[in-house]
């Protein structure tokens, strides 16, 4: 979307990037228009209390508490899947366990969720699959926040030709849909693991954060205290880090949190299409894709990894929602 934050643009809010991961003509990730909070320069004295208020507000939101608890649980599962099951997710027994149905009496046991088309414990695979999804989600988010944040900051702060060049580059990337670009890029890797997927998604995804950061910096830059700081001779680095960043970072955090769920979906979609993760990495997307072949006779093989994936994405989106509501002064 060329120039939505152009300084000459008087528009208060940019039209959003639509968030549909399936569109080929996809423009950006799961970001709603109202997530782009423009920090209100008039509130600069309360800058610190914005975070304090947000935290106080968050602690009382059930949505936040539920999603945070879920995420903590998911992270624990991702790090120590062995705590929750003794079953080996790669152990297969075709003779005994080929498509064996879920056995609810086997509470928290290997056969709880049944066995897949390779005679492997679905419960164990669901647990061990969390690692790939969580790692991709968090790492891509960190990477795009850093990369996009720095680029957006530089472009917004310095303006001029730097800004023009960066903006055009951002536009170029926005013209290439995420899923399409990732498909083409990942085709290039002869061997793919979590890090290649992270690399591809980060390479294509950073522009979204850069745009948000740039817009926020542009707004903050015009505020009195920055102008005053400049007049008093504050250095560029100090201005950026001490004055602009704390005030511009809120929308970036909100967008990044919500986008995290999107990156998890992106990994699963790519793995589903056979171009994401591969053995021996255990991925929900791959398992869902394999389950297609037996969906008529054994729908539970698809159900459990799909449910795990949806719950994970839901947790991060709810967290992002809660953080946005807490940080958005207009809704307070």
């Amino acid at each position: 979307m060329p120039d939505v934050h152009d300084e000459n643009d008087p528009k208060p809010l940019p039209p959003p990037g639509s968030g549909h991961l399936d569109y080929v003509g996809n423009q950006g990730l799961l970001v709603e228009q109202d997530t782009l909070i423009e920090p209100d320069p008039a509130k600069r004295e309360e800058a610190r209390s914005l975070w304090g208020d947000a935290w106080r507000d968050l602690r009382h939101r059930p949505i936040f508490l539920i999603s945070a608890a879920l995420i903590v649980l998911l992270v624990i599962i991702a790090i120590f899947p062995g705590l929750f099951t003794n079953a080996n997710p790669r152990q297969s027994n075709l003779v005994l366990n080929y498509l064996r149905r879920p056995d609810w009496t086997d509470f928290f046991g290997a056969g709880w969720f049944g066995y897949d088309g390779q005679g492997r414990s679905i419960y164990a695979r669901v647990l061990y699959g969390a690692r790939a999804s969580i790692t991709v989600g968090i790492c891509v988010t960190l990477a795009v926040t850093l990369l996009g944040g720095i680029t957006g900051m530089v472009a917004g702060y310095f303006g001029g030709w730097i800004d023009s060049v960066v903006s055009r580059i951002i536009d170029i990337f926005f013209g290439i849909p995420l899923l399409l670009g990732a498909l083409v890029l990942l085709n290039a890797f002869t061997y793919r693991n979590v890090w290649t997927v992270v690399l591809a998604l980060a390479f294509l995804g950073w522009t979204q954060l850069a745009r948000v950061m740039r817009g926020a910096v542009l707004t903050v830059k015009q505020s009195d205290y920055v102008v005053a700081g400049k007049a008093l001779g504050a250095g560029t680095g100090r201005l950026m880090l001490r004055h602009i960043l704390p005030n511009a970072v809120a929308p970036v955090i909100v967008v990044a949190t919500i986008a995290l769920g999107g990156y998890i979906t992106a990994e699963a979609t790519l793995s589903f299409l056979g171009i994401g993760l591969q053995d021996p990495t255990i991925s929900w997307g791959v398992d869902i894709s394999s389950a297609q072949k037996v969906i008529r006779t054994a729908p539970y093989v698809m159900f459990f990894p799909a449910a795990a994936l949806s719950i994970t994405v839901l947790a991060f989106i709810m967290l992002g929602d809660a953080v946005r509501d807490a940080l958005d002064p207009k809704l307070r």
Partner: protein, 308 residues
């Protein structure tokens, strides 16, 4: 206004060139020789491969290939796929299907998404509001390929209302289910966006003024509230329609819709450079035009905005 449009169009040129170059590089520098692969398990015959590479202009340095390609594009020649069909005719087959499905999805977004959002926004905190919030959250969380399978299993396999996959991509009634699946996520966004926008506007001064003036509630809602609240929603829908035109890889794949996404996915798999680059070039143009139109639409709808 006129000079703004001209400036925007000028800015599009480097973006267009950059995006096509990027996709061109991505497609043409990747490993996997499409020519050698035509031979199946038999070793490709070098003389023949050289000849075919020459025919498809693949024996030139990359920058020459790109210039050659762009030059052809300027003459509206998108090249020939390895099947011997012109890429233009491939696109002429695929785009109408995608556009039909996009319009169906768009229809769902408006007819279902908007009312849900308005209802939810006006009755903030009610049971209906909570329900809409939860439902939309759920839809946003479920990946489209899972949603597609659920819809296919429920409506086709279990209920038997439709065939599991689209048999005839030109038949609108068959496109309803994939269209609905495609619409689901944006529909949820539209509902949530409308809700937020209405919530913000309800507390705006002009509503307070209107209420103080004693205007009937109905008039306030329809004349003032909705008109102003829908501005961001309409721009969202505008962008979304542009994006929908690009087709959907997963949905089209699951439902066997022979649209742009389907063709593109297969072309990427088969390393059909001319087809991939051709379609993406058109998509980039669609995207650029759509974003310009949305920005202009924004100005038309919101009188506070004037483009210099």
């Amino acid at each position: 206004m006129g000079s703004y449009v001209i400036r925007r169009v000028l800015q599009m040129i480097p973006v267009f060139l950059g995006a096509t170059l990027l996709i061109f590089l991505m497609v043409y520098t990747l490993p996997g020789d499409p020519i050698a692969a035509m031979y199946g398990d038999k070793a490709a015959d070098p003389a023949q491969v050289a000849s075919l590479r020459h025919q498809f202009y693949l024996d030139q340095p990359l920058w020459k290939q790109y210039l050659h390609y762009m030059n052809n594009i300027l003459h509206l020649d998108f090249g020939t796929s390895f099947t011997g069909r012109s890429v233009s005719s491939i696109m002429a087959d695929a785009f109408p299907v995608t556009i039909r499905m996009a319009l169906i999805a768009f229809f769902f977004e408006i007819v279902v998404g908007l009312p849900l959002g308005v209802l939810s926004g006006l009755k903030r905190g009610s049971v209906a509001d909570t329900l809409v919030l939860l439902l939309t959250l759920l839809v946003i969380s479920i990946p489209v390929f899972v949603l597609g399978y659920i819809a296919q299993t429920v409506f086709a396999t279990n209920l038997g209302w439709v065939t599991p996959t689209v048999q005839d991509s030109t038949d609108i009634t068959q496109l309803l289910l994939p269209g609905a699946v495609l619409a689901a996520l944006s529909l949820a966004y539209v509902a949530r966006l409308t809700r937020t926008s209405i919530g913000e506007n309800l507390r705006a001064d002009y509503i307070r003024t209107a209420t103080a003036k004693g205007l009937p509630r109905r008039t306030i809602i329809v004349r003032h509230l909705l008109r102003n609240s829908l501005i961001p929603v309409v721009t969202f829908l505008g962008t979304d329609l542009g994006a929908l035109m690009g087709g959907a890889i997963v949905t089209e794949g699951i439902f066997n819709v022979k649209g742009v996404g389907n063709i593109l996915y297969r072309a990427i798999g088969q390393k059909e450079g001319p087809t991939v680059v051709g379609i993406v070039t058109v998509l980039v143009i669609v995207y650029l035009v759509a974003s310009l139109l949305v920005d202009l639409l924004y100005a038309v709808l919101d009188p506070r905005i004037r483009y210099a």
